[in-house]
């Protein structure tokens, strides 16, 4: 009877660090760690000796000192006496504002163009592919400059609105399109306006509840309640009633021409509009391709099967094609949103005060704190993109095909 013996214990030899796969990875990682630490130490020592030679240090105290420059478009109170940190905050809000606006409109442009490009109408689909190719193949910086130039060249100056027989006139006496920007009415919140807003929010909840109930009724009994008109009625009738009962508390402050410029209302600056439009029409071309790819990824058999079940064209789209296509469309769509946020840093080319222009532009140049400003700037963009990536991961996990 043979007895099992342990295999002979191989003694450790130095050459095994390179030749034995069990140890080799440790060797490589150790070398990588050494290289990493050495290069970091090299760069840091360079940095500190260079800073010492230039008489600089790393300090974030400049954030607390007055910025000393004006910003023409702000969402929060700001004056040239505010701190640099406040200026950076103004910039951050401006970045988020233009990114949000551009995301909304780029999605609209992209979906329309993507759907139309798939249409059977030869002319329209060719026109849309022309749009997509033109905008995808020309740098966004050139588009931003072109659209800013168009705005300045085509729209009239505020002085064209003056006189008895003005060259330009306001649209509905409420909107003024000038080359300095667009003036729109500003809402004035009077006493009791809170009630109106609350009613409106409640109506939205009501609409959702009604539609849930209708769907449930349909599945339970097969009885189909009308959806369209009741939803609209629930949405608007109570709010309008409350609005008039409360004595019309929400008014509008119209822009009025005074002297050489408009006053009152909200001024949406020219650079913001140019950047907004350029980003949305440029990214819209990319989104159009994503939408097209998503719809084409759904096999024709799906819509044919839905048709065989007797569904109408609209319901086939809503219930069968879109839910599947969205799974393909949404991930690249979110990465396009990320691109919009990052491309909005080109605001510096048209003088829109986003965070790159305030923190990375004027503050950097005035204080000379290059390293601190650029690091803060990167930190901001990194935070935004990590947040968006996190949202995307959550979504991807929620719509992932549940396979066994």
């Amino acid at each position: 009877m043979t007895t099992m013996t342990d295999p002979p214990q191989e003694s450790f030899r130095l050459s095994m660090l390179l030749n034995d796969t069990r140890y080799r990875s440790y060797t490589f990682q150790f070398i990588a760690l050494i290289v990493l630490i050495a290069s970091a130490a090299f760069l840091m020592s360079n940095l500190f000796s260079n800073l010492a030679a230039a008489g600089l240090n790393i300090s974030y105290q400049f954030l607390g000192t007055p910025a000393g420059y004006d910003i023409n478009q702000t969402l929060i109170d700001y004056s040239s006496q505010s701190t640099n940190a406040r200026a950076a905050l103004v910039g951050i809000l401006n970045t988020l504002l233009v990114a949000f606006l551009a995301c909304v409109t780029a999605t609209i442009f992209g979906v329309i163009a993507g759907v139309l490009r798939l249409s059977n109408n030869w002319l329209v689909s060719k026109l849309m592919s022309f749009y997509v190719e033109i905008f995808r193949n020309i740098p966004v910086l050139i588009w931003i400059i072109i659209i800013f130039t168009i705005m300045i060249a085509v729209l009239p100056g505020p002085r064209a609105f003056r006189g008895d027989d003005p060259a330009a006139s306001m649209v509905f006496d409420a909107f003024a399109f000038t080359n300095r920007g667009v003036y729109i009415p500003a809402p004035v919140w009077g006493a009791g306006s809170l009630v109106v807003v609350a009613t409106f929010l409640l109506s939205i909840v009501g609409v959702i509840a009604y539609r849930r109930y209708a769907t449930k009724l349909l599945y339970a009994t097969g009885r189909l309640l009308p959806m369209g008109w009741p939803s609209l009625a629930i949405l608007f009738v109570p709010t309008l009633l409350v609005y008039f009962i409360m004595g019309m508390p929400i008014g509008l402050d119209y822009p009025v021409l005074k002297g050489f410029n408009f006053s009152g209302g909200i001024k949406v600056g020219g650079p913001l509009i140019a950047l907004w439009f350029a980003l949305s029409i440029y990214t819209g071309a990319f989104i159009a391709e994503n939408v097209r790819a998503g719809i084409q990824a759904i096999s024709k058999g799906q819509s044919e099967a839905a048709g065989a079940l007797g569904l109408r064209q609209g319901r086939i789209m809503n219930l069968v094609v879109l839910p599947q296509a969205l799974r393909v469309i949404i991930p690249p769509l979110i990465s396009q949103y990320l691109n919009i946020t990052k491309n909005s840093s080109l605001a510096i080319a048209v003088g829109y005060a986003d965070v790159t222009a305030t923190l990375g532009g004027i503050t950097l140049n005035q204080t000379g704190r290059a390293i601190e400003c650029v690091l803060l700037l990167m930190l901001f963009y990194l935070t935004i993109s990590l947040c968006i990536s996190a949202v995307m991961n959550v979504y991807n996990n929620s719509v992932k095909l549940k396979e066994r």
């Binding site: 360079n46 260079n50 139309l116 249409s119 910086l141 390293i371 990167m378 990194l382």
Partner: protein
């Protein structure tokens, strides 16, 4: 039997009727228009709207282009010639042609050098782009970077020759040792190249640039579309190898290497290129050894290469992930080690899958080279916004200049994307 039938029936056709042409309503342009343009009322409305849009666009631009002026020396003179007629002052393009292409500082009598480098670039790129070309031409591709450097920057020919000798020495060392172990060959080759460069660098005299065959041109004198092309070509070709390394590192089993690559890629992808360019222009100089000066062009190339390498790494990672698991296992079962498996089996397939993605990144990168105008380098956009629009002669000529820039970029980028589609068809081996 057929005879009796023929006699009994009243009439039987004995010859074939010639096929009649389809009715006019079911053929030709009318039918096509009916099917493709006016099939439903909604489509008819869309067609009319599209026609109107095309009419408005063409109706405004065509007269403007055709009545354009090509040979005046200033905007005022051009407006005089036009005399109120709508037309483009394209003479800004003819008059500032060299500035648009080469920037405003490059020595005028040396324009032939970048032009020659541009022409040779096609010869160098051809064997890479078209794999049916003779393989011997790749030798020229290998020499081209050094030749182009010498042509564009000028100065002593010793510098590019030294660089070339270093690369050749590294290559021979690699060939000598790679049969034993890939790592030995790879690192040995790099070490050999550095030894040659350091020794050669000590041998080249300091005043070598004086009396050189080609006058030395400093990097800050580069500009115009040439700068865009140089940045695009240099950064794309440098970032592909770096991207492959990053992608392999991210797939690696070694946690430390994996995390270095993940942090690098995610960091670069999370920030806009413009902040990286700020790093290049105001921050990177602090990280070089004290006393050395690195010119802005090199710093920008470093940052853009890192930027596009991160994106290319993600594309290649997709390609690696798309390969079936069996390919990796097959390589293992053949007894190949990691470098062999990667070089011979995995990467050729993964790179083929990644080609469209890599080309997308390359097109995006080429478009992004315009951003260097923000850190006051005078590339094509920088030239237009800076010296040309600010000059007294051409202050106010927007459309012609911006249209020209847009056209140049469109031609190049559209060409690249068409090439990529052609290559995809050529490489399609799955017989579908």
């Amino acid at each position: 039997m057929s005879d009796t039938h023929a006699h009994s029936a009243a009439f039987v056709r004995t010859e074939q009727v010639p096929p009649a042409p389809p009715p006019a309503s079911a053929t030709g342009p009318v039918k096509w228009a009916k099917d493709n343009l006016f099939s439903t009322p909604l489509y008819s409305v869309l067609t009319v709207a599209a026609l109107y849009v095309i009419y408005v666009i063409l109706g405004n631009t065509l007269p403007w282009i055709f009545s354009g002026v090509w040979n005046t020396s200033s905007l005022a003179e051009c407006r005089e010639v036009l005399d109120g007629v709508s037309g483009g002052c394209f003479s800004v393009l003819t008059e500032r042609w060299n500035q648009l292409l080469f920037g405003f500082k490059y020595p005028v009598d040396q324009y032939w050098r970048p032009s020659l480098a541009f022409v040779l670039f096609f010869a160098a790129a051809a064997p890479v782009l078209f794999y049916k070309m003779p393989r011997k031409l790749l030798l020229f591709t290998a020499i081209f970077p050094f030749l182009a450097y010498w042509l564009i920057w000028g100065g002593t020919i010793l510098t590019p020759i030294l660089a070339l000798v270093g690369v050749v020495a590294g290559y021979f060392v690699y060939q000598r040792f790679v049969a034993g172990s890939f790592a030995a060959g790879f690192f040995g080759g790099i070490a050999a190249a550095f030894v040659v460069w350091i020794i050669g660098g000590l041998l080249i005299p300091d005043n070598a640039n004086e009396g050189a065959m080609l006058r030395a041109v400093p990097s800050r004198d580069l500009g115009g579309f040439m700068l865009n092309m140089m940045l695009g070509v240099a950064c794309v070709s440098l970032s592909v190898p770096l991207g492959i390394a990053l992608a392999l590192g991210r797939q690696s089993d070694m946690p430390l290497i994996k995390w270095i690559c993940v942090v690098f890629i995610e960091f670069i992808r999370g920030v806009p290129l413009i902040t990286l360019l700020f790093v290049a222009s105001v921050m990177l100089a602090y990280f070089f050894p004290p006393g050395t000066t690195t010119d802005l062009f090199l710093r920008v190339v470093i940052m853009i290469t890192m930027f596009s390498a991160a994106y290319i790494a993600e594309v290649i990672r997709g390609g690696l992930a798309a390969l079936p698991r069996g390919q990796y296992e097959a390589a293992d079962s053949l007894g190949l080690d990691y470098p062999q498996a990667m070089r011979l089996i995995i990467l050729p397939q993964a790179l083929k899958i990644s080609i469209p993605g890599i080309v997308n990144v390359a097109v995006g990168l080429f478009k992004d080279t315009t951003l260097v105008s923000v850190i006051s380098m005078f590339d094509l956009v920088g030239m237009i916004r800076g010296p040309i629009l600010a000059s007294t002669e051409w202050n106010g000529v927007y459309w012609e200049l911006l249209g020209f820039a847009a056209l140049l970029f469109f031609v190049v980028c559209y060409g690249i994307s068409q090439y990529s589609q052609w290559l995809e068809r050529q490489l399609a081996t799955d017989h579908r």
